[in-house]
């Protein structure tokens, strides 16, 4: 049973009986567009012009039903014999003989040739009913395909009988409870040449093939689907080795989970610019730049670091072959060969013009689903403009990004921007789909071109606003600081010259400072010496003064002693002499 039914039952347990039940076709992408598949127990008309894939669509519905859903089927073929049918789908991996042998499929080839048949009066198509009934009961069929009923209009002449019999047939199929597909050839201005869409009221699907720029693309559209929501757009589809793949335009909503995990880009300095931890896992990264700026090399670093962590990486190259790419990366020190040998890196190189845009997209889907990588590189996306308009490329990228995000795969896209133009402008269309946008640009000056890398945006993280010089050497990519000064941004030799000049100036400045310091020390020493000399001089003077004072004192003492002696000699009154001495 399809997932749709269980989902519907969860939400509407009471109404579940009234809700239109659906049968998964098993055709990739189709069940998503129709939210479950074809209406159960009803007849669906699949119409389209010759070669649009009607028969294959119907047949895959039966094959998938038999193999994946255990529902046997009946194929009533008006145009091809069982043998022809079996042969034509063997290349798609459908083994009809095996299904027939296992009673999961009955093929009834109905051959009608107008020249062999003569009409003589009233008839009905009971023979067809009998055969259908017989085939259905022989395998217990739940699914029926009639391809294509309209052949009868050319084989039998009586349109009145045919129309009433067709009406009876559709009612009969409904009563039998089988889910049926009938195919019809596209008519002029009508869905089918004989207007049998008027009998089919439940579901009508239109297949078309259109050519743009000489590249053919198949489209599928659900014209009508009564009683249910469905995608109304034209969905591209392709027929490949595994059957039909319809590519839903978007994943029908922005519901993918966002990872908090960060992963390295393989360039440490770039990780540092991206908030120090690199890009978010499952995010989309756009690397844009003019030719030769190293976009592929940068992408290869991301791939290399993923492989080194033991993850798988799928690389879609639209400019270089695998051999050329491996050789070129080796020249900058990246050896991708071991990863290729170990199966961690898968390389798919093709020219964009090989087939249409949708084919590319469906092809990528298929390879991604088969390889289940953690990192996908598309190098470059701009080449798709060769096979489609910018609008189509943008729509395709949106679908690819949505698909990758829903699977948590980190995507790296490179984008070639035309030289000379406004670089950022040309990428605006696709940049809005991207979480991280790196721009690698040539910075010209003083006779050389050097690469500068900017982080134009990076959602959900603090990122550097600085320009870094993007240098590719023998050991991979390195990011260097650029010189930003009054003379502008300097890179390469100009930066080196500027740096040398700055170094010289710095040395001169240092020397000057040293000299000044030495001067100061000397001055201080001089001053201190002077101070010492002055102090010595002062001290000498002081001693001299003190010595003189002492002499004076002693002389004074001698004088007074002399006076006393003289007084004693004159025999003067000692007390009076004493008083007079103290007063004097």
């Amino acid at each position: 049973m399809g997932t749709y039914e269980s989902k519907a039952n969860v939400g509407h347990t009471v109404e579940s009986l009234d809700v239109l039940q659906k049968v998964p076709t098993g055709i990739k992408g189709f069940d998503e567009i129709t939210v479950g598949g074809l209406p159960r127990g009803r007849t669906t008309l699949v119409c389209g012009s010759a070669g649009s894939g009607k028969t294959l669509f119907a047949l895959e519905f039966l094959v998938r039903g038999a193999i994946d859903h255990g529902e046997p089927g009946v194929f009533v073929a008006f145009e091809e014999t069982a043998v022809e049918l079996t042969q034509s789908v063997a290349s798609l991996g459908f083994d009809l003989d095996d299904l027939v042998a296992r009673k999961m499929l009955a093929i009834d080839y109905v051959h009608v040739e107008r020249s062999e048949i003569l009409e003589t009066g009233d008839y009905d198509l009971n023979g067809l009913f009998v055969r259908l009934e017989y085939a259905i009961s022989s395998v217990g069929a739940k699914r029926v395909v009639i391809d294509s009923l309209e052949t009868l209009f050319s084989a039998l002449g009586n349109e009145g009988i045919l129309r009433s019999e067709f009406r009876r047939l559709f009612r009969w199929l409904k009563d039998r409870g089988v889910t049926a597909i009938i195919t019809g050839e596209r008519g002029d201005g009508t869905l089918t040449r004989h207007g049998i869409e008027e009998y089919v009221s439940d579901c009508v699907i239109l297949l078309e093939q259109r050519v743009h720029e000489r590249v053919a693309t198949r489209y599928l559209r659900v014209v009508k689907y009564r009683g249910t929501m469905h995608g109304t757009n034209e969905y591209p589809f392709l027929i490949h080795a595994g059957g039909i793949s319809v590519v839903p335009v978007t994943s029908l909503g922005l519901t993918h989970p966002a990872s908090d995990e960060r992963m390295s880009t393989g360039v440490p300095r770039l990780d540092a610019m991206l908030g120090g931890k690199g890009i978010y896992r499952g995010s989309s990264v756009l690397i844009s730049g003019t030719p030769g700026t190293g976009k592929s090399s940068l992408a290869a670093h991301v791939a290399n670091s993923a492989c080194r962590r033991g993850e798988r990486c799928l690389y879609f190259a639209f400019e270089e072959s695998q051999g050329q790419f491996v050789r070129n990366m080796r020249s900058i020190g990246l050896d991708l060969k071991p990863w290729l040998d170990q199966g961690r890196l898968q390389f798919h190189a093709s020219r964009p013009t090989l087939f249409g845009l949708e084919m590319h997209l469906a092809n990528m889907h298929r390879l991604i689903e088969a390889f289940d990588p953690s990192v996908v590189v598309v190098d470059p996306v701009t080449n798709f403009a060769m096979v489609a308009t910018n609008h189509e490329v943008r729509a395709m990228l949106m679908r690819l990004v949505d698909f990758l995000k829903s699977r948590g795969i980190t995507a790296v896209f490179t984008s070639l921007t035309a030289g000379g133009g406004a670089l950022e402008e040309t990428d605006v269309g696709i940049s809005s789909l991207m979480d991280t946008w790196l721009l690698v640009q040539f910075l010209e000056g003083s006779g050389e071109r050097n690469r500068g890398l900017y982080v134009l945006k990076s959602r959900g993280m603090m990122h550097s606003n600085q320009v870094r010089e993007f240098h590719m050497g023998a050991h991979g990519i390195d990011l260097l600081d650029v010189y930003v000064g009054p003379a502008g941004v300097l890179t390469g030799t100009a930066r080196q010259a500027q740096e040398a000049k700055e170094r010289a100036e710095a040395i001169t400045r240092q020397q000057e400072m040293d000299r000044k310091q030495r001067d100061l020390a000397r001055k201080r020493a001089q001053l201190e010496a002077q101070i010492l000399a002055l102090r010595a001089e002062f001290e000498a003077e002081e001693q001299e003064v003190l010595a003189n004072l002492d002499q004076d004192k002693r002389r004074e003492l001698n004088l007074s002693r002399d006076r006393e002696q003289m007084a004693r000699l004159r025999q003067a009154d000692p007390s009076r002499q004493q008083n007079g001495g103290s007063a004097g």
Binding site: V112, E116, L118, G121, D122, Y123, N126, G127, V130, L156
Partner: protein
């Protein structure tokens, strides 16, 4: 347009006509067709014909062999080539043309 020589080149009298009528149950159309066929054979092929009636409701697997789609279908198995006539055989003129029987 048939040339006068056609009647001569075919020796009607020496052949056995093997006719098979496919029906699906006893419907009005089937009975009508069978009645028309018997009358026609008696008129033009008396004693030289053999009619087999196949009811697909009982033998549905037989429908594939003669590529039967419309009911009723009359198949002229012999003389060769095989010819198919569908309908209730009410248009005698067309049945005779279809079976390639010259009216006497």
């Amino acid at each position: 347009m048939t040339s006068p020589l056609d009647g001569i080149s075919r020796d009607v009298t020496s052949e056995i006509w093997e006719l098979r009528l496919y029906v699906a149950g006893q419907t009005r159309k089937s009975l009508l067709a069978l009645g028309n066929l018997r009358r026609l054979c008696e008129e033009h092929l008396a004693g030289k014909y053999h009619i087999e009636i196949v009811d697909l409701l009982q033998h549905p697997q037989l429908a594939e062999g003669d590529q039967i789609l419309a009911i009723p279908t009359l198949v002229r198995r012999l003389p060769e080539p095989i010819r198919k006539i569908i309908g209730d055989l009410s248009n005698t003129e067309r049945v005779l043309v279809g079976l390639d029987i010259r009216p006497h």
